[in-house]
Amino acid sequence: MSEQLPAPDFDAQNYARPNQNWICGRACDGNACRPGPDAKGRCRATAECKPILELKPGETKGRWKCTRTGGACEAGPLPDGSCCRPIPKCSPVPTLRWWRGRLTLAVIALSCAVLLVVLGNPPWRNHFISPGEISQPHSGSQFLALAATNHLNQGCGACHVAGNTGPHGMMHAALHANPGILDLKKLAAAHAATPTVIDESCLKCHTGRNVHQPSALPVSCAFCHLEHQGKMMAAPTDENCNFCHGDATKMAAAASAGNVPLPVVHHFADDHPQFRFLTDKLRDPDTLKFNHLLHLTGTTIPKLPGGEKLDCAFCHQPDAAGTFMKPVAFEKNCRVCHSLQFDPETPQLMLPHGNVDFISAYLRSLPKQYADLAAKENPADVNGFVTAKLAGLRTQFGSGEDLERRVFFSTATFGPEAQVGDLSGATRALFPGCAYCHEVKAAAAGSPQITHPVQTEHWLTQAKFNHAKHLNIACAQCHDAVHSKDTADILLPPRETCVTCHSPRGGVADTCAECHSYHKPLMAAR
């Protein structure tokens, strides 16, 4: 208490009252009155003195006496006992402290008023409390129509229980939240991906949501798909995937539940396993015999009709979306060189492709084919032309059965057509036989069987890939075709080749979601 006593030289007469709300209106003139204003800012000045009544023995009325400090005044008190020298009242001035208090009250009142007005007006409320722009799929007229179809509320209420309920409903929802407002222990222990009430709203539209493993942990939609982040909903992060795939315990539990055992993975560049087609030493099951090395570097490969050298792009053309490559087709990509000219003396005749019966029928109708050709080229002597051609065939191949057998089964390792390419590189390859490219089996019934080539469209079935995004990279940088002689070679790059770019060092996105999709393997481009 001693600290609160005034200093010895404290001038009580001129105390400035900085801690009070009001000061005397004459303080600025240096004439502040001693008592100062009261707590409500009213001047307390009255008169220079407060007369007292003196009563002498025997007197009944008495006499008023001046009590002014510094001596009685000349006029003395008035007959009614009041001082004859009243002090004019001042207008007390509020201190800075008073102004600050009023400003504080004004800010409190303004804050409450603004919040009440805004929260009481649904359109304003939704706009005001939204923590960010909603993604395009969850906003706009289409979503509203979909929400109406699925019996969802409009606006915030489509997803949030408290969305359209006003201040009272918000308070009710907050007080009944689980974990509760002050349930810190439960909040801290909560499972990061635990589904919430909001998921029920999601599932009203997203029915049949499928996870990539049947026994995967139930995960809240919002764990990966954060709303209110802008028009485009952000892709899931590696942290989302690592919740399970980065946790050895969870992965072991998943494997023991019957899922495919997978290693723990955190980042593609660090610990992502090698692609399975390499670890499992998969081979392309296609029976077509194709030699990439020969076609890309062989000296016997003729120039294309336009004079260009054969390259990857001639056969491997992107599909309409540019995502994957269209299957290689004989008519479009092969016939330009492999024209199936079975009779070197008559290059105008070419075997049909694609059906064994058609080929057999064509060979058995050769007199008619030669006759049709003669009608165009030598109409004066059709019979002579046909006879000469058939005689030439018999000389070269023997009987018709011999010709047919050679067409189907020859691999160019025997017979006059062993040379299938032209050393000068100017003409088309001669036709050695179907078996040169295809697997041809002798069927018991007589006609041969040609195994239909199967072109595997996608080897990495659990991943997404888009060729259109990789156009600035040469094909050979990923596909080592110039060293492949065997169709069974799978010409996809190893993980390390991808990591060259898709890594923090390479500077290209390397998140899990770049290639994988949680809900199901996506073959389409992103």
Partner: protein
């Protein structure tokens, strides 16, 4: 080592340790499910302790510890709470009208607090270097006395110089009429008063011998008034930052309470 320095070093060490600890915890636990809830509660606790410092000042009779200690805690906790605020925001900018308003309120409150701390460390030293001490509440009375004296010199019964009277009416009457040059004084500029003194010196040089003494007295009064304005400007700055800091603190607390309601009401509880 003085007590002030000991307190300063102790406070800084505590702040640095708390900052390092908070950043370490943030790096380790930021992937927790309800991390934002936990940082939010920590932030609210910090804000609450900061706010009740004002209440503590209103209750000096309660044995709640020394106000000086509370101020030290208020300063260092204020800095730490700013870090908690950034952690709570995940070091990203907020979105949406409400959250942006809330964030701005926090920025203004903490920013004004830092400005106030800067003022309270710098301005008292500047005040001590000029013009002695004068209580802020008494400055108007002293200024009034100076004005009265100047008027008496220039326009009083004994004033016989029309030159001085004219100079006073044109140049000094406005200067003495009230506080002047707030921003110039804050910027430590004496340009305005120096200009007046220079004009008075010019006047004195060509004035009659009898008027020179009055002009010198007037110059002295101009210097006194300028000193008063300097004190008023700096002392007012020491008080004005509270006009932002305290009112907005209550606005911030109101918005924060609504923020809690919205978070729990709209998150479905767990997220």
């Amino acid at each position: 080592m003085t007590r002030f320095r000991r307190q300063l070093y102790l406070g800084l060490f505590a702040l640095l340790a708390a900052t390092a600890g908070a950043l370490w915890l943030n790096a380790k636990y930021s992937t927790l499910a309800n991390y934002a809830f936990l940082t939010g509660w920590a932030l609210l606790a910090g804000m609450f302790i900061l706010t009740i410092y004002n209440v503590r000042k209103k209750l000096p009779f309660l044995p709640l510890g020394k106000s000086e200690t509370w101020l030290q805690i208020h300063i260092y906790l204020g800095f730490f709470t700013t870090l908690l605020f950034l952690i709570h925001l995940k070091f990203r900018l907020p979105h949406g009208w409400f959250e942006i308003t809330l964030a701005w309120l926090f920025v203004l409150v903490s920013g004004s607090g830092m400005v106030g701390l800067f003022f309270s460390r710098v301005l008292p030293r500047r005040l001590a270097t000029r013009g002695g001490e004068v209580i802020f509440e008494k400055i108007p009375a002293v200024r009034h006395a100076a004005k009265t004296a100047a008027e008496e010199l220039a326009l009083g019964k004994d004033a016989k110089s029309p030159v001085i009277a004219e100079f006073y009416a044109k140049r000094l009457a406005g200067f003495f009429s009230g506080p002047k040059h707030f921003w110039l004084h804050l910027a430590e500029s004496r340009r305005a008063a120096s200009a007046l003194i220079a004009e008075l010196e010019d006047l004195r040089r060509f004035a009659a011998e009898a008027d020179r003494e009055k002009i010198e007295k007037l110059a002295g009064l101009v210097r006194q008034k300028d000193g008063l304005d300097y004190h008023r400007a700096l002392q007012l700055a020491l008080k004005l930052w509270l006009f932002v800091h305290i009112p907005l603190t209550y606005g911030l607390m109101i918005f924060t309470l609504l923020h809690i309601v919205l978070v729990f009401g709209f998150s479905g509880g767990a997220r």
